[in-house]
Symmetry: C2
């Protein structure tokens, strides 16, 4: 990515117009060079990358500013779960055509998030494609040396904690696809809007990063479904877990869809795109963790306990009956 | 990117099979976590990103190992030109289908280059796409603090130097598309093979990074055509240049195509995909730079001089006549 020189190409002028204003970090060199500089500032650099494809990760008629926000936020969510503070990102953008209005909205959404999350654009690449629009973002965070929080590290006795509410995004997608949830909430525009908003614009929990770093034994973000992601965290830690289904935090809109029978609990805990944080917090740190979460303005809910063993985590209802889960998470292949 | 847990999905098992063996750096955590750790080791981290789209940057029937090599090498080329030593990379891969044989070859090519260039896979994301295959790589390098070599910095009197030979890749693409060059070299399989090889597998000049860091006032890699890229370097430096066309280094195969009239010099100096390094070396460092290049085994050719001024660089033939250039570089839009 580079700004126009003496012989500005169409590509260079697009970049200068829409993306240069986002490159506020001195290490981005105003997008006038071939590479950026990232300073570690004495810590470790945490690197994460997530790609979004039109029709797979977002819908063609999603508003462009929300597409940009989602592309950045899914990466910010990984940084949050690793206990890292955002440091910047690079963007690879494959465009089927140049739609200036679309690009202006996309850059506006991206710029607003770059500012509010303190995660400036460092560089990128803009290419043409005969296929669907694709956005690939690699984001960087900083942690003190050796302090990245891993998937592994959960210990028997730890509380299993999740942020926010679970399942909303999957219900939002169902609404956009005019599924059962759309029908059940036909008379409730507010709930529909909330759920669609949760699908389009995740709320990454970066405000909680320092609490996770300070207190969590293990953490990951919930992107492919809570049940599957918990299974991954447990496998990486060599433990199992028992979850109390009624403790899983649901939004009023999700509760309404559940009560109406438009969706089951199994679908809620295995739906994708939550972008909440799942973590294992030792009992003696639980109070301090909750206090830090409250100060950060992030709701956290204990939903169960890590136990010894290698079996799949158990999801129990109020009568102690196990919820059968057919598919615990989303897979591309 | 993550390796399989208790409930391995298709995606996880693909990653474990093909990409985990490439994640040799301890900071990659064997692709079992949500993010990687990159240590700055007291220096600056140089970040560059380049995306390749099937049908745009490579042809659908290019061998998968060469596609992987090209995807990594175009990024390595940027690191070389910035004077940075490779530290690792992350990969976002959008696949229209799962073709195990293709993936095995792709991973083999990628792994061979990761090893030979000392640039291990740190992490990534594998997603499905209804469109063409796309590969987005973000690569990292290390330089001592403040020592990244910029596009800006060239000064009047500096020698303009390029590595390797110019124009081969564009001629190779013409051969694959059965153009004029293919016809002119119909009887010369060796030349055709060499040019096609230069299109498919660039030779990034990472062996020259320390010489560039030590001696170049300014540098960039030549990816969109030498003439356009020189214009960009001059614009960024606030200077101009005079180039001696007969000094531009050509391979025997390119010379043959030129002599046969299948291509003109203007096309050679504005064809893309060279992935050579263009740099400005002050006269008093020229001898030492050449010596270091010889030790590194990289051919370097002085092709002209940086001069004061803001006009476009001049490309002069043996009679001092200026070569007219219609399009100096490739642009996606």
């Amino acid at each position: 990515m580079s700004a126009p020189g003496a012989h500005a190409s169409g590509e260079d002028s697009l970049i200068a117009r829409y993306f240069k204003p986002l490159a506020t970090d001195p290490g981005a060199f105003g997008l006038t060079d071939d590479a950026a500089i990232l300073k570690a500032l004495g810590g470790d650099i945490v690197v994460t990358t997530d790609a979004l494809v039109e029709g797979v990760h977002f819908l063609p008629d999603d508003p462009p500013d929300t597409i940009a926000q989602k592309a950045l936020r899914v990466n910010l969510s990984d940084l949050a779960a690793k206990g890292a503070d955002p440091a910047g990102f690079v963007l690879a953008l494959a465009l089927p055509k140049v739609d200036e209005a679309w690009l202006a909205d996309f850059a506006r959404g991206l710029g607003a998030d770059a500012t509010s999350f303190g995660c400036p654009l460092l560089g990128g690449d803009t290419v043409s494609t005969p296929g669907p629009l694709m956005i690939s973002i690699t984001a960087f965070g900083r942690v003190p040396p050796g302090k990245m929080v891993h998937r592994s590290g959960a210990k028997p006795g730890d509380q299993v904690v999740v942020t926010g509410t679970i399942g909303d995004a999957a219900l939002g997608l169902d609404i956009l696809k005019r599924g059962k949830v759309a029908a059940a909430l036909a008379g409730d525009a507010l709930s529909r809007e909330l759920l669609v908003g949760r699908y389009r614009v995740p709320q990454p929990r970066n405000a909680l990063a320092s609490a996770i770093r300070a207190h969590a034994h293990a953490a990951m973000d919930v992107s492919d479904g809570l049940a599957g992601d918990l299974a991954k965290l447990c496998a990486a830690s060599g433990v199992s877990a028992v979850i109390d289904l009624k403790s899983v935090p649901l939004s009023p809109a999700a509760s309404k869809a559940l009560a109406a029978g438009a969706v089951g609990l199994a679908e809620i805990v295995s739906g994708g795109d939550d972008y909440e944080v799942l973590c294992a917090v030792p009992p003696d740190a639980s109070e301090q963790f909750s206090r830090m979460a409250e100060v950060a303005g992030v709701a956290v809910s204990p939903i169960g306990t890590i136990i010894a063993g290698e079996s799949a985590p158990k999801w129990l209802d109020e009568e102690g009956k196990e919820l059968p889960l057919a598919h615990t998470s989303y897979s591309h292949f």
